[in-house]
C-alpha cells in the first residue's frame, strides 16, 4: 500500500481518519508552515488526540491543588511522588483501559496493568502494589459476566506473573456501564526520596535507546480510537497482547539500569508508543530528539516509519543515557535477553526529526506537538441543581438489608480478589477486604496505606458534591485503618465532552474534588482522563475514581475493620460499638433509594469537608493511642451494611440503637459521609468520648457486641427487629459466586 501524499491528505481529507478535525489540520499546516506528510499527520493525529493531549479536560484539570510539603513530584511526569518520611518516597498513578477492555477484556485489562506498571518503575520506584477499580453492567447479562470474568482474569494474569500483589480495589455494577465497562488500574512503588528519575531528554548528543520488546504492527491507532465512539468497531484490528514475563524482565533491567546512574531520562511507551515517548521527553527538556528508524528493532519485515511511530507494542521503553556509558545498558539488557537499540540523539534544535533509509521522513517542532496542542474550552451547560424528591420507604428494613448486602456492588468481592496474588513480595499487612490496604515498607516499621473509591450515582445526582465525596471516601478509608492520608491520584471516566451536559459534570466534579483535596490536605499528584465513555450515544454516569495514598507509622497501630476474634471472645461484654461523626437519616442518593425506585434518586448524600477532616484526624489520634480495636467507615448501603460487615467479619452478633429523633429507615440506610463505626473496650469508652469531643467530632455509643449471632436493632429502648448473621452472611457471600456460577467460562453470548 502506498502512503498518501501531502496533497492527497489535504484534498481527500485523509487527516480526518487520523483523528484530526478540519480546524486542527489547518492549525498543523500553520505550525509546520507546510502540508504534513503521512507520518507527520499521523504523529499530530495521535498526540493531539483526547487521550494524549487532554484537550477537553486540560483547562479544568488546572483547578486541582497539586502542591504540599509531602509532594516531591506533582502531575506532569509519569507518576506522582510523595514523601513518606525516613528518606523514602512513594510513586503512584492510576490509569484507565476502558475501551480496549470492552473489546478484548482479558488483554485489555492485562495491558492496562502492564502500562501503569511501567509508569511507576520509570520513576525509579520499585513497584509494590496494584489496585483495580472496575465498573460493569448488571451480572444478569451474559456479555457482562464474560467481561467481568475476563477482566479479572486479565488483571490477575499480568499482576500475578510480574510478582506484584494486587491488594485492593473496587467493583461496582450498574446498568449505566452495560455497554461501556470501566477498567482503571493503579500501581504504587517505593523509592528513595532523593532517587527519583524523570522522563526528560537532556544533554545534547546523549544517545537515545529503545529497549524491551520489538516493535510490531499491533495497536496502531489505539490512542486515536480510544477517544472515538464505539470501541467495538474501531479496536478490532488494534488488540495488543501483553507479555507479563517480558514486562517483569523489563522492570528488573530498567531498575538495574537506573541504579547504575547512567540514565539521564526514561519514559515508557504507552499510548502512541514511540511518538508520545519521544515528543514528551524532548518537550520536558525543552529540546529535540533525532531518531533513525532503521535502527528500531521490529518484529515484522517491511514496517513503515508510520507504523513504527504509531505502534503500541507493549513492554517497550525509551531511555536517554549519559554519553559514553552505553555499554552499561547493553550489558544489562543482554543479560535479561531484551532488545536494546541505539536509535538516536538528543538535540537542541527543538525538533522531532525522524530519518529512514537516509531520508528525513518527519521534522516537526516539539512545542507544536506537545505544549501547543489545541486546548478546548468546550461549552458547559448550566445546572439546575439537584432534583429534590421524596424517597419512598417502600422496601422493608429486613428486605433492604438483605438486598443491599446481596447487591453485587456491596457484596463480598472475594470471588474477584482470590484470583489475584495478594501476598507476593511478602509485605502485605492488609490485603483486599479491609477499608484500605497496607503494604509494609522494607526495613522500616511503617506501611503504605492505599484505597480506591468513586461512586457515580452521587456524581450523577450532584456532580460537585459527588466529586467531593469521591475524594472524601477514598481518603477516609486510609484514615479508618489508622494511616495519615498524603495525596491522591485519579481517573476521570466521563462521557462525550462534546455534550455540554457532560462537560458540566466534568467541570463540577473537578471543582468538588479540588475542594475536598484542599480540605483534606491530599493534593492531586497524578491522574488520567478517559472521555467518550458511551454506548449507542448514551453516556455513562460520570465516574471519577480516586486512588488515595497514606502512611501508617508503626504496623502494630493499624486498625482492622473487624475486631480480632480471639480478643473479643474472651469477654464479649467488655466491648462496645461507637459511632463517630454526624448521624443522619436522609436517603438522598442512597443505594436503598435506587433499589426502591429503580434509579438514582434525590441529591447526593450529605458531606461536610470540615467535619470530614476532623473525623480523619480523630482516627489518627485513636490509632496512635491504640484506643479502638476495629473501625469501619459507613459507605454504600449505609450504617446497616457497615455494622453487618463488621459483625460478619468476627462472626458475632450485636445490638445497635437508633439515635433519638431519627427515622429508622433513613438512619440505617443513609449514605451520609464522615461516619465511622468503632469497637472500643468499655473501660476506655469514656476516654474515647472525651478525645472525640476535644477533636470536635460527635460520638455516641451505638451498641454492643454479643456472642449470639444476631443483629438486634433497638428504637427508644425497644428491640424492633432481629436479623441472623448467618442469613446476612449468605446474602453477602453468595451474591457474586451465585451470579457467576450460572456463567460458563469464556462464553460471551447467550444460548438460543
Amino acid at each position: 500500500m502506498r502512503e498518501p501524499t501531502p496533497e492527497q491528505i489535504r484534498d481527500e481529507q485523509i487527516y480526518r481518519s487520523l483523528g484530526l478535525t478540519d480546524s486542527e489540520y489547518a492549525l498543523v499546516v500553520e505550525k509546520l508552515g507546510r502540508h504534513p506528510n503521512y507520518v507527520e499527520a499521523g504523529i499530530f493525529g495521535v498526540l493531539w488526540s483526547e487521550h494524549c493531549s487532554y484537550k477537553s479536560s486540560k483547562a479544568h484539570l488546572r483547578r486541582f491543588p497539586t502542591n504540599g510539603r509531602q509532594v516531591l513530584q506533582g502531575p506532569g511526569e509519569n507518576a506522582g511522588v510523595v514523601d513518606i518520611g525516613d528518606g523514602m518516597a512513594v510513586a503512584f498513578k492510576m490509569e484507565s483501559h476502558n475501551h480496549p477492555s470492552a473489546v478484548e477484556p482479558y488483554q485489555g485489562a492485562a495491558t492496562g496493568v502492564g502500562g501503569i506498571l511501567r509508569d511507576i518503575f520509570t520513576m525509579g520506584a520499585r513497584p509494590v502494589a496494584f489496585l483495580d477499580s472496575l465498573r460493569f453492567g448488571p451480572l444478569d447479562d451474559v456479555r457482562t459476566r464474560y467481561l467481568f470474568e475476563q477482566v479479572v482474569a486479565g488483571i490477575g494474569g499480568y499482576g500475578n506473573c510480574v510478582g506484584i500483589p494486587t491488594v485492593g480495589g473496587e467493583v461496582q455494577f450498574s446498568p449505566t456501564y452495560r455497554g461501556n465497562p470501566l477498567v482503571n488500574a493503579m500501581c504504587v512503588g517505593i523509592l528513595p526520596a532523593d532517587g527519583m528519575m524523570r522522563g526528560t531528554a537532556t544533554g545534547v548528543g546523549n544517545p537515545v535507546f529503545v529497549v524491551g520488546a520489538r516493535t510490531g504492527r499491533d495497536g496502531i491507532h489505539g490512542a486515536t480510537f480510544a477517544s472515538a465512539e464505539d470501541p467495538e468497531e474501531k479496536e478490532r484490528s488494534a488488540v495488543q497482547v501483553g507479555d507479563p514475563f517480558l514486562g517483569k524482565l523489563l522492570m528488573e533491567a530498567c531498575l538495574e539500569l537506573i541504579a547504575s546512574g547512567a540514565v539521564v531520562g526514561i519514559q515508557d511507551m504507552g499510548a502512541a508508543g514511540l511518538t508520545s515517548s519521544s515528543a514528551e521527553m524532548a518537550s520536558r527538556a525543552g529540546g529535540g530528539i533525532e531518531m533513525v528508524l532503521d535502527h528500531v528493532p521490529v518484529r515484522e519485515d517491511g514496517m513503515t516509519p508510520y507504523e513504527m511511530m504509531l505502534s503500541e507494542s507493549q513492554e517497550r521503553m525509551l531511555v536517554v543515557l549519559e554519553r559514553g556509558r552505553e555499554d552499561i545498558a547493553f550489558e544489562i539488557f543482554r543479560r535479561y535477553g531484551l532488545e536494546v537499540a541505539d536509535v538516536g540523539r538528543v538535540t537542541d534544535d527543538g525538533r522531532l526529526r525522524l530519518c529512514w533509509h537516509g531520508e528525513v521522513v518527519a521534522d516537526i517542532p516539539v512545542t507544536a506537538l506537545v505544549d501547543e496542542a489545541p486546548v478546548y474550552e468546550r461549552p458547559i451547560a448550566p445546572w439546575a441543581g439537584p432534583q429534590l424528591e421524596d424517597i419512598p420507604t417502600t422496601l422493608s428494613i429486613r428486605d433492604a438489608w438483605l438486598q443491599l448486602l446481596a447487591h453485587p456492588s456491596v457484596a463480598d468481592k472475594r470471588w474477584v480478589y482470590r484470583q489475584y496474588d495478594t501476598m507476593v513480595r511478602a509485605a502485605t499487612v492488609e490485603g483486599p477486604g479491609a477499608d484500605a490496604a497496607l503494604v509494609k515498607v522494607p526495613g522500616l516499621d511503617k506501611a503504605i496505606a492505599m484505597a480506591t473509591d468513586g461512586n457515580s450515582r452521587y456524581v450523577a445526582l450532584n456532580p460537585k458534591r459527588g466529586g467531593q465525596i469521591a475524594v472524601a471516601e477514598a481518603v477516609r478509608n486510609l484514615a479508618t485503618v489508622g494511616a495519615k492520608p498524603l495525596a491522591i491520584t485519579n481517573c476521570l471516566n466521563f462521557g462525550n465532552p462534546e455534550k455540554p451536559d457532560v462537560m458540566r459534570q466534568l467541570s463540577d466534579a473537578i471543582d468538588g474534588m479540588a475542594e475536598a483535596c484542599l480540605a483534606l490536605d491530599t493534593p492531586v499528584v497524578s491522574g488520567n482522563v478517559s472521555l467518550y465513555n458511551e454506548s449507542r450515544g448514551v453516556d455513562i454516569q460520570p465516574t471519577p475514581v480516586v486512588g488515595a495514598i497514606g502512611v501508617l507509622e508503626g504496623i502494630q497501630r493499624r486498625i482492622p475493620s473487624t475486631p480480632p476474634k480471639a480478643l473479643i471472645e474472651e469477654h464479649w461484654s467488655d466491648w462496645a460499638l461507637w459511632i463517630l461523626g454526624r448521624e443522619d437519616d436522609c436517603l438522598d442518593g442512597t443505594l436503598y433509594g435506587e433499589l426502591a425506585v429503580g434509579r438514582p434518586v434525590g441529591d447526593a448524600p450529605y458531606v461536610n469537608l470540615a467535619e470530614e477532616r476532623r473525623v480523619h484526624d480523630l482516627l489518627q489520634t485513636l490509632s496512635a493511642k491504640s484506643m479502638v480495636v476495629a473501625a469501619h467507615d459507613v459507605s454504600e448501603g449505609g450504617l446497616a451494611v457497615t455494622v453487618a460487615e463488621m459483625l460478619m467479619g468476627v462472626d458475632a452478633g450485636g445490638e445497635i440503637e437508633c439515635a433519638d429523633g431519627f427515622n429508622l429507615h433513613g438512619w440505617l440506610f443513609s449514605e451520609a459521609q464522615g461516619r465511622v463505626v468503632v469497637v472500643v473496650d468499655r473501660a476506655r469508652a469514656e476516654a474515647l468520648g472525651a478525645i472525640a469531643e476535644a477533636a470536635g467530632v460527635p460520638a455516641r455509643p451505638l451498641g454492643s457486641l454479643a456472642e449470639h449471632k444476631q443483629i438486634v436493632v433497638k428504637l427508644a429502648g425497644q428491640s424492633v427487629m432481629t436479623l441472623g448473621i448467618a442469613e446476612l452472611r449468605q446474602a453477602y457471600e453468595e451474591a457474586i459466586p451465585a451470579a457467576m456460577a450460572a456463567h460458563i467460562q469464556g462464553v460471551a453470548e447467550a444460548g438460543d
Binding site: 510478582g163 507479563p244 513480595r425 511478602a426
Partner: protein
C-alpha cells in the same frame, strides 16, 4: 548453615524466600542466578515461586533446563536439602527430581488465599519441627497446582510416607488432596503453598516458620535422627 535461592527469569518469590530464611534462622542466604553450575557450597537450596519464563508452555518446563537445575540435581543426589515452593515445585516435577506433575487447577482459576494444611509426615528434614497431624495455615497462590499422580504412584507415595502435606480442603483438585511431596530419599520437598509468606506476626499466619526451622535444625544438628529426638 548456608542457603541458596535460585533466581530464574520470572522468579518473583526469590527475595521473599531469602528474607524468610534470614528472619527465621539467622542463616546466610545467597540469591544465585539460574546460570550457576556449582551449588556445592550450600547446605540447602530453594527453588522459589514465580513464573519462570512466564510459565509459558507448561509451568517450570523451560526453567528445568537451566544449568542451576543440573547443579541442584547433583546436590540432591549428594543428600543436600532441596525445597521447591510453588513454581519451584513445578520445576522439580518437570525435571523429575520429584514424581508426578502439576496441572491447571480444576476450577481453571488462579487461587490465592490462606488455606489449612495437614502435616502428614512430621519426620522429614522439612517437617520435623511440626507435631504429627498438626493443622497449619499457609497461603497458596497458583493457577496450576493440581497435583497429578497415577494410581501406582499414589499408592507408593502414601505407603512410603512421602506425602508431606495435604490440604484440609482441596483448593485445586489435587489427587488425594496432596499439597507437598518428598522424593524417595526424603531430602527434596516440593509444595504448592508458600511457607515464606507465613513467618511474621503481621502476616496471615506464622506457621511457615517451623518448616525453615526444621531444615535449619536438621542441618545444624547433623542428622535426621537427632532432629527428631
Amino acid at each position: 548453615m548456608k542457603w541458596a535461592v535460585v533466581v530464574f527469569p520470572g522468579s518473583n518469590c526469590d527475595h521473599d524466600a531469602a528474607q524468610a530464611v534470614r528472619d527465621v534462622t539467622g542463616d546466610m542466604v545467597d540469591l544465585v542466578w539460574h546460570d550457576v553450575t556449582d551449588l556445592a557450597a550450600y547446605d540447602a537450596i530453594i527453588l522459589p515461586g514465580g513464573f519462570s519464563y512466564g510459565d509459558y508452555l507448561r509451568s517450570g518446563a523451560i526453567a528445568r533446563f537451566s544449568p542451576a537445575v543440573d547443579a541442584v540435581a547433583k546436590e540432591a543426589a549428594a543428600g543436600k536439602l532441596v525445597l521447591g515452593i510453588c513454581n519451584g515445585f513445578q520445576v522439580l516435577t518437570e525435571s523429575h527430581l520429584l514424581p508426578g506433575a502439576l496441572l491447571r487447577n480444576d476450577h481453571l482459576q488462579f487461587r490465592c488465599e490462606t488455606v489449612e494444611l495437614i502435616v502428614e509426615n512430621h519426620t522429614s528434614p522439612f517437617t520435623c519441627a511440626y507435631r504429627p497431624g498438626e493443622r497449619i495455615r499457609i497461603p497458596i497462590a497458583h493457577g496450576e497446582g493440581r497435583y497429578y499422580a497415577d494410581e501406582t504412584l499414589r499408592q507408593r507415595l502414601a505407603a512410603d510416607g512421602r506425602i508431606a502435606f495435604r490440604y484440609a480442603d482441596n483448593p485445586n483438585g489435587s489427587v488425594d488432596a496432596i499439597a507437598g511431596v518428598l522424593n524417595d530419599r526424603g531430602n527434596v520437598l516440593g509444595l504448592m503453598p508458600h511457607p515464606e509468606r507465613a513467618v511474621a506476626a503481621w502476616m496471615t499466619s506464622q506457621d511457615g516458620r517451623l518448616l525453615f526451622e526444621s531444615m535449619h535444625r536438621f542441618v545444624e544438628e547433623g542428622s535426621y535422627a537427632r532432629a527428631n529426638a
